[in-house]
């Protein structure tokens, strides 16, 4: 499988603000790639560099095999973009805007355009200045989703959409993936990415701090285990088991966390001690993301040792 987007060591500063600080990102062809990070992490800056709108200070970027700064025009033939902050021409109607953007991009899929307008319940005759934020977003989404390009770059596209419309968006995204198109979807909302994406990169302060499939990311988190065993260990004993941490003992109930690698070992140990009750709480991605957003590590220090 080839890569649609490859970024290595991207650096971009605005005056004294370091927006991107050696960012690496790989998006494979045909996948929906989630680009997650808190506000100000550098998602939009990365995307604007990928489109050749910004000139980066250092690092390399290849998009669909091209240099986005030097071959912007050729590259733009093959991608559609929805900016994070959609503005429309105040005097053009929504329908005119969709047609215009489609023509500038070299044509739209008429059939799909009709379906999207209907599904998003968009009134095409309103002028740009009359649309609400969500409706402006829909205009840009219809224009992008109806194009016949292999790569979609969507910067927080669901901001302003209501839950029903968000569902429509998810369906359409799935349809595009089924056709083998590639999507880079930036977001600061985990649940959206969790539903739509094959792989995820988490960016914080201009650096990608974690990247991989959701499965892989899940394995980075720790499972919380609560067990009642007949042969109760001491607290110190339990803390000594490989991969185990956060141990607490109360009324014969053991509670601890364990990393993915050592879960099997822990369960075997508990079985030897004649386990009577056992709950395993699957790792929550939310925890991982919050920890990553804050710059901490989801793995407690003592367990890493």
């Amino acid at each position: 499988m080839t890569d649609a987007i490859t970024i290595r060591g991207l650096r971009k500063t605005f005056g004294r603000t370091v927006a991107l600080d050696g960012l690496d990102l790989t998006v494979r062809e045909g996948e929906v790639h989630g680009f997650l990070g808190p506000n100000g992490a550098g998602k939009s800056t990365t995307i604007r560099a990928l489109l050749g709108l910004l000139r980066v200070d250092a690092g390399t970027a290849r998009v669909l095999g091209r240099d986005p700064w030097r071959e912007a025009t050729a590259l733009h033939r093959d991608l559609a973009y929805v900016p994070g902050d959609v503005v429309l021409w105040p005097t053009l109607s929504g329908g005119e805007t969709i047609d215009l953007l489609g023509r500038l991009r070299g044509g739209v899929d008429e059939e799909r355009r009709r379906r999207l307008v209907a599904r998003f319940e968009l009134d095409e005759t309103k002028k740009g200045k009359a649309y609400s934020k969500g409706n402006r977003q829909k205009v840009a989404l219809v224009a992008a989703l109806a194009s016949r390009v292999p790569l979609l770059v969507l910067d927080e596209p669901t901001a302003g959409l209501d839950p029903l419309m968000e569902q429509v968006f998810q369906d359409e995204l799935a349809a595009l993936r089924a056709e083998g198109r590639t999507t880079l979807l930036s977001s600061h909302i985990l649940s959206e990415v969790e539903r739509a994406c094959d792989r995820v990169s988490i960016v914080r302060a201009g650096v990608v701090v974690e990247s991989g499939s959701l499965e892989h990311l899940r394995r980075l988190t720790r499972t919380r285990v609560q067990a009642t065993v007949e042969d109760t260990p001491t607290r110190a004993e339990a803390a000594g088991w490989p991969g185990v941490a956060d141990v607490a003992l109360q009324d014969g109930r053991l509670s601890c966390t364990v990393d993915a690698e050592h879960l099997g070992g822990l369960v075997a140990e508990l079985a030897r001690r004649r386990v009577a009750g056992l709950t395993c709480q699957p790792p929550s991605l939310e925890e991982l993301f919050l920890a990553r957003y804050e710059g901490g590590s989801p793995v407690p220090a003592q367990a890493r040792a």
Binding site: R48, L51, L53, L54, R55, A72, T73, A74, H76, R77, L79, Y81, P83, D85, V87, L88, W89, P90, T91, L92, S93, G95, E96, D99, L100, L101, R103, L104, R105, G106, E124, T125, K126, K127, K129, A130, A140
Partner: protein, 531 residues
């Protein structure tokens, strides 16, 4: 007064944003009035040296149409003859720009909503804008009056001079306050307010070019007519200020009535729905920028056609003049033409119109920067449209529009003028004189393109370039400015048409220079970050 809550904070914010543009504009205006008065007084130190030849100069309907009547036959009146009207127009433009930028622009770009959600009364933003614009007007006119007084000119006349500017400026504050409420976009509001100013100028020009009668009386309907009829250093009608104040109060009151009845972000002029699918013309970048400018272009074409008819019909009055050698010399310096009075008149008018058309072209080119600031450029540039094509579309629109405008106004004068006066040059020569100004117009448009292409933050400097080019080119010869300074103005190189020589070399140099500036802007635009 909860409707004015937060006014103080808004004023502080407005001052913070305007601390460069307002003081420098005011300084420029004061320099204009005091500087040109000082220069004229140096040329004509006493009344006797001036009066003899000047009495009939100022009876020239062409000059009167442009600047209004001279108020008296003495040196003081001569010293401000041009700047009364020129400054009144510029003061009105300053009021318009300042007020619009704090009201409709803020609202259209969504910042007012941010502010409005805080503890800010409904009237406060308009009130803040009106106060800032009014202060700018009063500063410019007050300081000018003081400056003229400082030159030792007549005190009552100096006060009246300030009154003339203030009247025009205050009235424009009132007109603009209403315009920004009626239209829902910055451009729409500008169209209304500049349109009103242009109409006021034309009405005044027509009224001032006849002596008495109904048409003359109509001049009292124009705020610029009021400014002229203060007649500083003559009749000193300072009571006219009451008319300006009245227009201000009326305009603001009407604006408040509208404001209380409309939605935030909306206007009163209806926003219609559009078509569901784009027409064939709306496809490439040029199609897009042309479509976005359609309303503006229409307004200009109609306004210029009307203006051309008025200018052309005034030709009939020019021929009635006796032409003393002194007057001839003065007019040569002024109009840059050595021909008949009709020819001098046309040469002068065509330059004035060229300045206005250059302003229109600059505004069109600067749309590139506005689109970038609002994030609209990004939408286009993320498609296969290259930066060069997007930039070129704006330049092409501005160059095409200025050419069209010049053809329209020149054509109108050429149609009407030769019929109004037997001694007027033929239609071809008239149209040629207007078209000959185009290289200077293109050069100014190109300077704006370079600025917006390379450094959009400095794009408003394009207006300063235009203003300096205008003032230096217009006042330079009569003010005795150093030759190199006058030569910096594109308007100083236009040759002497009709009647004289077409400055072919200068026209070619300016056109090539313009092409160079446009190219430089394009290269810079392709290489920089997009905001």
């Amino acid at each position: 007064m909860t409707r004015l809550a937060g006014l103080r904070d808004l004023l502080r914010l407005a001052w913070r944003r305007d601390r460069v543009i307002v003081p420098s504009s005011v300084a420029g205006l004061v320099l204009l009035s005091v500087g040109s008065a000082q220069a004229t007084l140096a040329l004509f130190p006493d009344d006797d040296s001036a009066v003899a030849g000047l009495a009939d100069i100022v009876a020239n309907p062409a000059l009167v149409a442009m600047y209004g009547p001279i108020s008296a036959a003495d040196a003081d009146a001569l010293a401000v003859f041009k700047t009364v009207m020129m400054g009144a127009v510029l003061t009105a433009v300053l009021a318009l720009v300042v007020l619009r930028r704090h009201t409709r622009t803020e609202e259209e770009e969504g910042r007012l909503e941010l502010v409005g959600a805080g503890v800010v009364g409904r009237w406060a933003p308009l009130a803040a804008g009106v106060l800032v614009a009014t202060s700018a007007v009063l500063l410019a006119s007050g300081l000018s009056a003081l400056g003229l007084l400082g030159l030792g000119m007549d005190p009552a006349g100096s006060l009246a001079f300030g009154v003339a500017w203030a009247t025009a400026g205050l009235a424009q504050v009132g007109v603009t306050a209403l315009a920004v409420q009626l239209a829902s976009t910055t451009r729409g509001a500008g169209g209304l307010a500049f349109g009103a100013l242009g109409a006021a100028y034309l009405l005044r020009a027509a009224a001032d070019s006849v002596d008495g009668g109904v048409v003359h009386a109509l001049g009292w309907l124009s705020p610029l007519g009021w400014a002229g009829r203060v007649e500083p250093y003559g009749r000193d009608r300072t009571w006219v200020l009451a008319l300006g104040l009245g227009a201000l109060v009326l305009g603001v009151a009407a604006a408040l009535v509208v404001l209380d009845r409309r939605d935030l972000g909306g206007g009163v002029l209806p926003t219609r729905t559009g078509r569901a699918r784009a027409g064939r013309a709306l496809s490439g970048p040029l199609g897009l920028v042309s479509r976005l400018a359609t309303g503006t272009l229409l307004g200009w074409v109609v306004g210029l056609a009307a203006g051309g008819v008025v200018l052309g019909s005034l030709l009939g009055a020019v021929g009635d003049l006796s032409s003393s050698p002194q007057m001839q010399r003065f007019l040569e310096a002024l109009g840059g033409s050595a021909g008949t009075l009709e020819e001098v008149y046309l040469a002068t008018e065509s330059r004035f119109v060229a300045v206005a058309i250059a302003a229109g072209g600059i505004a069109l080119v600067l749309r590139l920067g506005a689109a970038e600031r609002l994030g609209l450029g990004e939408a286009v540039l993320a498609t296969p449209t290259s930066r060069t094509r997007w930039y070129a579309a704006h330049v092409a629109l501005a160059v095409g529009a200025t050419t069209l405008f010049t053809l329209v106004v020149g054509g109108a004068v050429a149609l009407v003028g030769p019929r109004a006066s037997e001694d007027a040059p033929g239609a071809g020569a008239v149209l040629g004189a207007f078209l000959a100004t185009l290289p200077a117009v293109w050069l100014l448009v190109a300077a704006a393109a370079l600025l917006v292409g390379a450094r959009p933050r400095f794009a408003p400097l394009a207006w300063a370039v235009l203003l300096v080019g205008f003032v230096v080119g217009e006042l330079g010869p009569t003010m005795d400015l150093p030759g190199w300074l006058v030569d910096l103005s594109p308007f100083a190189h236009l040759g002497q048409l009709p009647g004289g020589e077409f400055a072919a070399l200068a026209a070619a140099v300016m056109t090539v220079l313009a092409a160079g500036l446009v190219g430089g802007g394009g290269v810079a635009y392709a290489r920089r970050d997009l905001a």
